[in-house]
Subunit: 203 residues, 2 copies
DNA sequence: GTCTATATTACGATAGAC
DNA sequence: GTCTATCGTAATATAGAC
């Protein structure tokens, strides 16, 4: 049991355990997405949070770990969310489920998606391998759906791994142009892409 | 008339007009692609070329212009190459031509493609607008093919602009996994993707 | 937990000799 | 055209006071 619920309690001046930590991650996410990991300084992140640069090191051992934790968090959230979908057993229904899920999940997290693409090369080799492993698991989920559809005769796909990568590249591309305030609603976008995906793989 | 053809002529020691310039662009391209614009220093570029950092400023007014020239060169090459294709009038044949051209052209220039994606946000606003304009012209070429196919009844595409972006995202994704030394040849890859594109848009 | 101050290193760009 | 040397600035990370 924590006692944080006593929000009015007196605190040591300038102490904000449990508040600053999330703010650091949010500020880093936003700044990395806008300007790129290498172009953002610890001082800029601290400025956004409202502390001095030295204080950040209470929340991360270094800048590299901050980036890695953001990417790892995004990929584990993605995998957990997909596994929570209880996709249908029928391959066509499962493919529709995956298509709509991918567009929806990614459109809700544009900054995480952006840095998960762009900042891979700024990860240390060890960290890179861990993120790549998570990414491959997600790709494997779509590949599995395609393979089952081929076995059952619903899909005509000679190279399920490559087609899975092609579909994911197409769907993730939504993030480059979609805006909440635009002409099309998200369900309409889902419909356009699901139509293309379905036609592209159906037997 | 230049007299550069007298290749054996004595030169001032350490002077390499016409040689260092291209080497600077090649080194910058390679380093920007591997580590990112912001993470690469002028000293690193100079080291790769084999000169001191100060000498680079004989070939570019600053680092930003070096990036911009690389991206502009890539986009104008791309547009010129597409216009040189003399695409067929028939929309289906033109779409096949575009699909194969895009895969081939991009697979031959992985570093240029990579930085043209990743370093857009490191361009000054003015430079960004110029590159975006070129990119939109290329997208417009595909959109035009789709629109003609719809008019003629060959394609069933409700949103030609969005479908054009989706197709380009899918095709450019080839660069993330294709290797010359891999299991599939480039013509085989073209075939897999053309099959998907064709099925996705045909009426 | 945050601050100030600082150690150490590196950056982009320029000046002037050759 | 390239070099050496340098200006002015800013980077990551740490130390110690409060």
């Amino acid at each position: 049991m924590r006692s944080d619920k006593f929000a009015g309690m007196a605190r040591t001046q300038g102490s904000h355990a449990g508040i600053t930590g999330p703010k650091v991650r949010e500020a880093a996410l936003s700044l990395f997405a806008r300007h790129g990991y290498a172009a953002v300084s610890m001082r800029q992140i601290a400025g956004e949070v409202g502390v001095q640069a030295g204080a950040l090191y209470n929340y991360t051992p270094d800048k590299q770990t901050l980036l890695f934790e953001l990417l790892k968090g995004h990929m584990t959230d993605l995998l957990a969310a997909w596994r929570g979908q209880d996709a249908p057993g029928d391959p066509v229904a499962a493919l529709e489920c995956f298509t709509r899920f991918h567009i929806r999940f990614h459109s809700e997290r544009p900054e995480e998606v952006f840095i998960s693409y762009m900042e891979l090369r700024n990860l240390d080799p060890d960290n890179f391998e861990k993120i790549e492993d998570l990414r491959r698991q997600y790709e494997g989920a779509l590949e599995g759906i395609l393979r089952r559809g081929v076995v059952q005769g619903a899909f005509d796909v000679a190279e399920p791994k490559i087609v899975a990568m092609a579909i994911i590249a197409m769907l993730t591309g939504v993030n480059t142009w979609f805006r909440e305030s635009g002409r099309l609603s998200l369900p309409e976008v889902e419909e356009i892409y699901w139509r293309m995906v379905r036609k592209a793989v159906m037997a």
